[in-house]
């Protein structure tokens, strides 16, 4: 085995590619990211072009996923909607990571009152179901992309804080941390250099899984009208429009955005599970 020669990133990568489910997850995620980036080049119709004479057309060679009640091309809207989804996902999880991880690290490292204050606030946030909390925050900010971003970000903060808190408590008791303290290394350097680096693998898994739930919450917010404002294409709001047409038989209006949401979340979850296995140093 050449496992002994490889280490760090190449080893994790190799293990990930050997895991079929993780590979499927990676593929799904990559497809949506590539489609979102390449949107202007692969779509025939602008996503917001209303052509009432073409409304409610079933899938065909011209309109792959059919058209909606305004005659807009559903394929274009889904691909452009992917831009919104990918963007909100990464930005909101980025916010959650940058706030949650330092909070958890400080709470775990210093303990005492600081830890109690931070972690009890996190517990309070965790006490609400994430969707309810996101709705409340989004509603108080008002509908729109920024509101949804902030809402999804805040909801994800405690997940990162709690994970980092647990990691920090374990890692700070290691002898190499005591060795650094014996050298006189400053707290901030210990937190950055030793604790964060050793806590990184589970955090990366959490980022991937968090992206999945961020997609779900963003779409849900849009579905109930708290997310992206129309006419911007977004998967959740597209399902919401299509809802009225399920009974009359225009199934494509809900099926395709639904599939888009499902495959994206599935992709992130499979990738997250695969990463967790690949990063497990005990193997």
């Amino acid at each position: 085995m050449n496992n002994t020669t490889k280490r760090g990133f190449p080893l994790v990568w190799q293990r990930l590619l050997r895991n079929r489910m993780a590979l499927i997850g990676l593929l799904l995620v990559m497809i949506w990211i590539v489609l979102a980036i390449a949107a202007p080049f692969i779509t025939k119709y602008p996503p917001n072009e209303i052509r009432l004479e073409h409304k409610l057309l079933p899938p065909s060679a011209d309109h792959w996923f059919g058209t909606d009640n305004f005659g807009r091309d559903l394929f274009s809207r889904i691909v452009y909607g992917g831009q919104v989804t990918v963007w909100t996902g990464f930005v909101s999880i980025g916010i959650a990571f940058m706030i949650g991880v330092p909070l958890g690290a400080i709470a775990g490292y210093f303990g005492g009152v600081v830890s109690n204050v931070i972690m009890r606030i996190m517990d309070t946030l965790l006490a609400f179901p994430s969707l309810i909390l996101a709705m409340a925050i989004a509603a108080s900010i008002g509908p729109g992309l920024i509101g949804a971003l902030i809402a999804v970000g805040i909801v994800a903060i405690p997940e990162f804080a709690r994970l980092m808190y647990g990691q920090t408590i374990v890692i700070k008791e290691k002898e190499y941390i005591e060795a650094s303290r014996a050298i006189g290394v400053k707290h901030l350097s210990i937190l950055r250099g030793h604790i964060f680096i050793n806590a990184f693998p589970p955090l990366l898994v959490q980022v991937t899984l968090g992206l999945g739930s961020a997609v779900l919450i963003t779409s849900s917010l849009s579905f109930i009208g708290l997310g992206v404002k129309p006419p911007t294409a977004e998967w959740g709001s597209m399902i919401s429009y299509g809802r009225d047409y399920i009974i009359s038989g225009e199934w494509w209006m809900t099926l395709f955005p639904g599939l888009a949401i499902a495959t994206t979340i599935l992709g992130f979850n499979l990738l997250g599970d695969g990463l967790r296995d690949a990063l497990d140093s005990r193997r």
Partner: protein, 321 residues
């Protein structure tokens, strides 16, 4: 004679613990009034069973554990009164080598980065090239090669890792080094290499060692003086030769009689102590050792013996003398 490098006076570390909901908290006396003087350039060994407080002593001297009482004078300054920032700076002069060569190196850091950490902390003016040069010089000094700097801890053997632990402690050229059982996790064949290395480095760099160990044959080999600890107190201290040839305290006698001798035909009296070391939570009254002492007398149960000079520079805390 010049001033001692380290003077410990009545050092205490008491941990409070909860007994019950409505009871007064008790005190675990991990260190209970330890006094010790270490001269520049010598090696003082601290010996004792598990739970005797020897590691706590080593770490309290460097304020890795904060003492609850007493004084530690390092080069004439009471370091227990220094601020955290003053103490941080002083750590360049007093270092520690840990027992576990596996746990004391960050698994995610290369050896080179681990060795650079002390330099980056205390000599931040050094450039990248100068850092590398210092690290390589130190690696060679502990018997390794510059290419080991690119390795990760899991790619090295236990002996090599302990060499790294020593290199990290010595790269800032400290004056006092606490060696906390530095060889007890290693194979016997590697132990002697590491011990010799530490002795060579001591002469080369003019180091003072506080050597913590439970292995008396190692202590006999490396130390000038030896202090015997029992339940957070020093019960005997003296020149190594003197303590080994003429142990005063019954506990020291028992420890020394337990050293294996290579000659199976040699008849000697083996003193076997009954039971385990008592918990430091509820220490016996009087002399803490009276519960296991073969020579215990009536007054041992009530009266705590003080450390008295009995031979030349040979102290013991026992009512027999």
């Amino acid at each position: 004679m010049s001033a001692p490098i380290l003077e410990v006076k009545n050092l205490q570390k008491h941990y409070p613990y909860k007994k019950g909901l409505f009871q007064k908290p008790g005190l675990t006396k991990a260190l209970d009034g330890v006094s010790l003087t270490i001269e520049r350039g010598e090696t003082v060994a601290i010996v004792g069973e598990s739970g005797s407080g020897k590691t706590t002593l080593g770490k309290t001297l460097l304020r890795l554990i904060e003492p609850t009482g007493g004084e530690v004078h390092f080069k004439g300054r009471d370091i227990t009164e220094l601020s955290a920032e003053q103490m941080r700076k002083l750590k360049a002069d007093m270092q520690i080598v840990f027992q576990d060569p596996y746990g004391s190196l960050d698994p995610k850091w290369t050896i080179g980065r681990t060795l650079e950490e002390p330099l980056r902390t205390h000599r931040s003016h050094l450039s990248g090239a100068a850092l590398k040069q210092e690290v390589n010089a130190m690696l060679e000094r502990v018997g390794l090669q510059p290419h080991h700097g690119e390795r990760y801890p899991h790619e090295l053997s236990g002996g090599q890792r302990q060499r790294i632990g020593i290199a990290r402690a010595l790269i800032l050229q400290p004056e006092l080094v606490v060696l906390d059982e530095p060889v007890s996790a290693l194979d016997v064949s590697i132990q002697s290499q590491i011990l010799n290395l530490m002795q060579d480095l001591q002469t080369e760099m003019g180091l003072t060692y506080l050597f913590i160990s439970h292995d008396l044959s190692v202590v006999r080999f490396i130390s000038n003086r030896v202090a015997v600890m029992y339940l957070g107190k020093v019960v005997e201290i003296g020149e190594t030769k003197e303590v080994f040839n003429n142990p005063l305290h019954p506990y020291t006698e028992a420890l020394i009689s337990a050293i294996p001798v290579p000659n199976p035909n040699l008849k000697r009296e083996r003193i076997v102590l009954a039971g385990d070391i008592p918990s430091p939570r509820n220490q016996p009254s009087g002399c803490a050792f009276h519960t296991r002492c073969p020579k215990a007398m009536a007054q041992c149960k009530t009266l705590q013996p003080d450390l008295k000079e009995i031979g030349s520079k040979h102290y013991a805390a026992c009512h027999l003398f």
